[in-house]
Amino acid sequence: MEWIALANPSRFLALAERLLPWLAAATALAFAAGLYAAFFVAPEDYQQGATVRIMFIHVPGAWLGMLGWAIMSVAALGTLVWRHPLADVALKTAAPIGAAFTFVCLVTGALWGRPMWGTYWVWDARLTSVLVLFLMYLGLIALWRAIEDRARAARAAAVLTLVGAVNLPIIKFSVDWWSTLHQPASVFRVGGSTIHPAILAPLLVMALAFTLLFATLYVSAMRNEILRRRVRTLRLLQVQTVQGA
């Protein structure tokens, strides 16, 4: 199927209708397998003990947070360059989902850090750049809600998304540099060695499960947004006919 075929919202809705049950089922299965692997298959890390199991949500959370912004960037191009009709919808709906998973990443990271390194938070390069990503998500969502006109909001959000996409590697690079410029007061030992396959496999299954979850939520949310726009159009039509009559 050509991508352009999806440009028709009705076709997308029909596709979503058929796809969603499968996506949801696949998500559930993947989580069942992943959680089982996370708790019963993966061994305890020789240094971190059982807390390594937090990694199985923390890492997918980070991955999805970044994937969310990547998807939004593609959608933003669709809005600004190709004016693909569904690009606005794709752009808007990815933000809250991406933000939620970035939040999960930050909090599970803090809960992992406390037993491991003795502190919930530290201003090192990786944590700080994920926090900045989270703040950018929140700013973007605030922008969507601030502008009344749908089309203008979409264009503004698209520009901000692309600026953010360009800025993310810059932030990562500069924070890396900043974090090594000011040496932290204490030295942290990163627990555990390079990832053992017995831990890697459950991690990959969980990552897959989370990605399928993202896809399910995303397609559903886009469907809702299309319906919401239909409602709005119909309401406007209704008002117009009343005025015209």
């Binding site: 700080t128 703040l135 000011h182 007061a185």
Partner: protein, 222 residues
């Protein structure tokens, strides 16, 4: 009395609905808390030492930025004139508006503060105390800010006038609020003294703020 309750309810609803007012303040608070380590470096001990100050300054700036929602919007669409002509005493009316503003802008900051204290490596019990000082002190910030908001409306000037007017007036609140927080962390000075003064400042501002703001509005908008 019901007129004031209605005003309070209306302002609260508007603030929550415009889908931004309350949460934008918290977001800005988080941004300030995030920016400081970029400036002073990631040294956790240093951040813990200046933590109460960062939280207080962040809360102050977030309150300040929200102040233009307090009176300016009503002035723009004419509701302020209606309030001026209404039966309820103007002092009480603006007090009700300030209370609504604190409930929707200041209180979320107080609730968010313990969470942001984690970013600044502030100790567990100390976080609670700093949050308490914020709970007691943020109303003072709002009610003092009310005066600045009234002046900005009466003089019809926007921009940085409001912060420039309000910040010097809030200095005592800042000093005693941070002193109380530091006392708890460092155990160097007693906590009670600055805390009681903070309470006194709040109570005073709750009275003086509305009275001064009402006077400004009456004379300025005639």
């Amino acid at each position: 009395m019901t007129a004031l309750a209605a005003l309070l309810l209306r302002d609260t609803r508007l603030a929550v609905r415009v889908g931004g007012g309350a949460l934008m303040g918290v977001l800005f608070f988080l941004l300030v808390v995030t920016m400081v380590p970029f400036g002073v470096g990631p040294d956790l001990k240093l951040l813990a030492r200046i933590g109460p100050a960062i939280l207080w300054i962040g809360a102050l700036l977030a309150t300040l930025l929200g102040l233009d929602r307090l009176l300016a919007a009503d002035h723009d669409d004419g509701s302020l004139d209606l309030i001026l002509m209404g039966h309820a005493p103007l002092e009480l009316a603006v007090a009700a508006k300030a209370l609504a503003h604190w409930l929707t802008t200041g209180l979320p900051l107080v609730i968010a503060a313990p969470l942001f204290g984690i970013f600044l490596n502030i100790d567990g019990s100390a976080i609670g105390i700093v949050a308490l000082t914020l709970l007691v002190g943020t109303p003072a910030l709002t009610f003092i800010g009310l005066i600045g908001a009234a002046l900005a409306v009466a003089l019809e000037r926007g921009g940085l006038l409001l912060p420039v007017l309000v910040l010097p007036l809030t200095v005592p609140v800042l000093i005693f609020g941070i002193a109380a927080g530091d006392a708890a962390i460092l155990n160097a000075a007693p906590f009670g003294a600055p805390f009681l003064i903070l309470i006194a400042l709040t109570l005073t501002s709750v009275v003086i703020g509305p009275v001064a703001a009402a006077a400004v509005l009456r004379h300025g908008l005639d």
